[in-house]
């Protein structure tokens, strides 16, 4: 067991590689792209946690997966651009390789039932195009800021948008990094209370408990952020709002990714990254 009391390990170098015997795994005959969510308390699921849960769901629902070769064959699953732990999402994407053909919608339903509520599979299309990850140009985020007056947030957003550049810092694996958070922001606006968007991401009051925030002011911020390097996260934009406009939410923001996909620069909106595959499927029919 890792880290248990008082163990000292004087290890060995790994053994030379062997090759597995037996027939090679069945080939991939169909690939499916899936959109899934991380909602409510399951937004605290890390990406690794999700991977394990998803692969177990595949086994429980007996999806005919294609496997990689080797001693420990892995089901063929590739994940794109996962949202950070603690961030809710309505728009995560992954792709699976199947050893037998399946109807995408039936597969979606099957997987959705097999996953715990909150990790919901909301869309499925057969893969017909390449460069999917490149199509994920930007994300649309919704930030609930409990304890912040909407008018105050409105002012701060104006200051942020008027700035040429907004330098922020974040601790990364390679130490403290300084970068611009402004250029990546394609849109920023305050969503009025009562609009359709305002309800999203507020499903955190699980188990029938009352929302303790009821009655408190809450600004809702909608962001569209380009996927750049270094990545600019909603947290970085919040640091920028703090440094440029003194916006300091009293409690952590609740962040939800609403969409990711191609960015329409004209309207500042994010469009459906599965649209091309869907269109190809329509033609095929």
């Amino acid at each position: 067991m890792r880290g248990r009391t008082g163990t000292t390990d004087e290890g060995l170098s790994p053994l030379a590689r062997r090759t597995p015997d037996g027939p090679p795994p069945a080939p991939t005959v169909q690939r499916i792209r899936l959109r899934y969510t991380k909602r409510g308390r399951l937004r605290f699921t890390s990406h690794r946690d999700f991977q394990r849960a998803f692969e177990r769901a595949l086994r429980r629902s007996a999806v005919p997966m294609a496997y990689s070769a080797g001693f420990t064959p892995h089901p063929k699953v590739s994940y794109a651009n996962a949202a950070p732990t603690g961030t809710g999402s309505e728009a995560e994407y992954l792709e699976i390789g199947l050893a037998e053909h399946r109807d995408p919608e039936a597969l979606r339903r099957q997987l959705d039932e097999s996953l715990p509520p909150g990790l919901d599979v909301t869309d499925a299309v057969e893969v017909a195009t390449s460069n999917f990850v490149e199509r994920l140009e930007a994300s649309e985020w919704l930030l609930r800021l409990p304890g912040v007056e909407p008018a105050e947030a409105e002012k701060a957003a104006a200051v942020f948008l008027a700035a040429e550049a907004v330098e922020v810092q974040r601790m990364t694996k390679n130490g403290l990094r300084t970068f611009d958070a402004r250029a990546a922001v394609a849109a920023m606006e305050i969503v009025p209370e009562g609009s359709a968007l305002a309800g999203i991401g507020d499903d955190t009051a699980t188990e029938g408990a009352d929302d303790v925030r009821t009655g408190a002011p809450c600004a809702i911020l909608r962001l569209v952020v380009r996927h750049a390097t270094p990545a600019v996260r909603p947290d970085d934009v919040l640091s920028g709002l703090r440094s440029t406009a003194d916006l300091a939410p009293p409690v952590p923001a609740e962040v939800t990714r609403l969409a990711q996909g191609p960015l329409d620069e004209q309207t500042g909106t994010v469009t459906d990254p599965l649209a091309l595959d869907r269109a190809a499927a329509e033609v095929g029919r």
Binding site: R56, Y67, P116, R213
Partner: protein
Amino acid sequence: MTVESVFPRLEALLPHVQKPIQYVGGELNSTVKDWDACDVRWALMYPDAYEVGLPNQGTMILYEVLNEREGVLAERSYSVWPDLEALMREHGVPQFTVDAHRPIKAFDVFGLSFSTELGYTNMLTALDLAGIPLNAADRTTDDPVVLAGGHAAFNPEPIADFIDAAVIGDGEQAVLDITDIVRAWKAEGRPGGRDELLLRLAKTGGVYIPRFYDVEYLADGRIARVVPNRPGVPWRVSKHTVMDLDEWPYPKQPLVPLAETVHERMSVEIFRGCTRGCRFCQAGMITRPVRERSITGIGEMVERGLKATGFEEVGLLSLSSADHSEIADITKGLADRYAEDKVGLSLPSTRVDAFNIDLANELSRNGRRSGLTFAPEGGSERIRKVINKMVSEEDLINTVATAYGNGWRQVKLYFMCGLPTETDEDVLQIGEMAKNVIAKGREVTGTNDIRCTVSIGGFVPKPHTPFQWAPQLSAEATDERLTKLRDSIRGDRKFGKNIGFRYHDGKPGIIEGLLSRGDRRIGAVIRAVYEDGGRFDGWREHFSYDRWIASAEKGLAGTGVDVDWYTTRERSYEEVLPWDHLDSGLDKDWLWEDWQDALEEVEVEDCRWTPCFDCGVCPQMDTHIQVGPTGKKLLPLTVVDN
């Protein structure tokens, strides 16, 4: 009275802590029942981190057994890490269950399962966070009954101040019996308050209530006697034994966490108990007799469990899994059945002499052939006679030769250091054994690239074993002996580089020894450690030997006894041991004879295959050995509907 979820308040803290997913619940196959529709409510805690506690079979079994009952509710709780503990204290969030995030204080029974004594400080953290007084004597009718179980509960005296009750042995039927008593008492309007409830439990003879016993000491610090202080309270409290495991096919729906945990597999307990008679092994002594689950019962549990979980590995658990009377048919049947599904099989505890290569081949058929692990426990033939681990070096060498011949190239060997009568020479033999293993491997495979890892744990004498009277080896002597062994391995030019060395330093073992064979006076030590910030003592980064020693000096001041008195002191036949009034079924005279046999290097057979040698358990507990073979086979496809 509806109890509110603390989740909204907890949720605000989660963005600030490591691995928040471990606190949110929502595991596959978890259960949230309607609070108001239940009249007996259990909070079950495994007092260690979620990643260790969630896969615990005992907790999972009781959770399911209780929740299956109409009107009964069980929820789980685990220790929170210090980062969350600090925030919970700051924001007044109490210890909670992960199922519905209800506060622990609202439950009727707070059951804690102790696999190890190192969880005691975590219990105090949980009680304090829950707002439950640490001392059982200070609790009122509004507080839950704090109930300890698990192997460590076979000597609950060190935590006697903090618990209201302890149950020893199998919990399945016991929790249901306790539920009935709690239900009746509540339905009658709680007559006589907490005291009356505890008295009703005590009178069953199967629930130990420490407050109903007085401990009297001799002038030299030893115990004079332990006496019931209430009429109707039995002199000794019996362990619980479940017969016919096929009637208890739990867990049926094992929990599947989102967070990563230490065991990610579908575990099936293939038998309970062990009569191999290894003298150091508390588990083998206190879980007698052997009770096998049938091959068909195992097959049904595996089938149902895999469907319910999607796990990719099946663990066939027991104290010595290869000893199941039909283990060959079980492993072959399961490997055949799941050949297409890439399900791996594992046998966590296997003996060298019960192991054969057909078994190993079945186990590795659907998965990797990485390493084999055996536990000779002692390096020399002599010390293995002392501990009654009847494995010869020849057995071991023959087994590994076959293993290497069949494609394995790595063998892991477990040993103990500090066994009674042990000398440097016995320990140095560990290195010799590893060298012989590698030499044999090289000979069989024709390659020099052969590995052997020796893993060494410090021996801690445990209650209810023949070694309960033995002196524990001091931390310094343990470390010295291990250093000599390491030097002899590292100094070997021919084999040194192929031997891995994994060992525990002697200090944590001394604290474990203090808690294992401690009496009620140790409660003050545990409390002092907790108050000084001691938490997660099973974790290297949290355990502090110095804190324990300083707290022991403080806690034991004026008693005339100290840490050495509890650990390195040999006990005599006449001494009243702190756990003598807890009846594991083992006849104390038999244990003493077995201790004398150990000193004379006399071995004892396994009663499954030889006549009874009168350890006392079966007649005392009215139980009997249940072993196959049943002669049944696992069919390739069994459809189980339940």
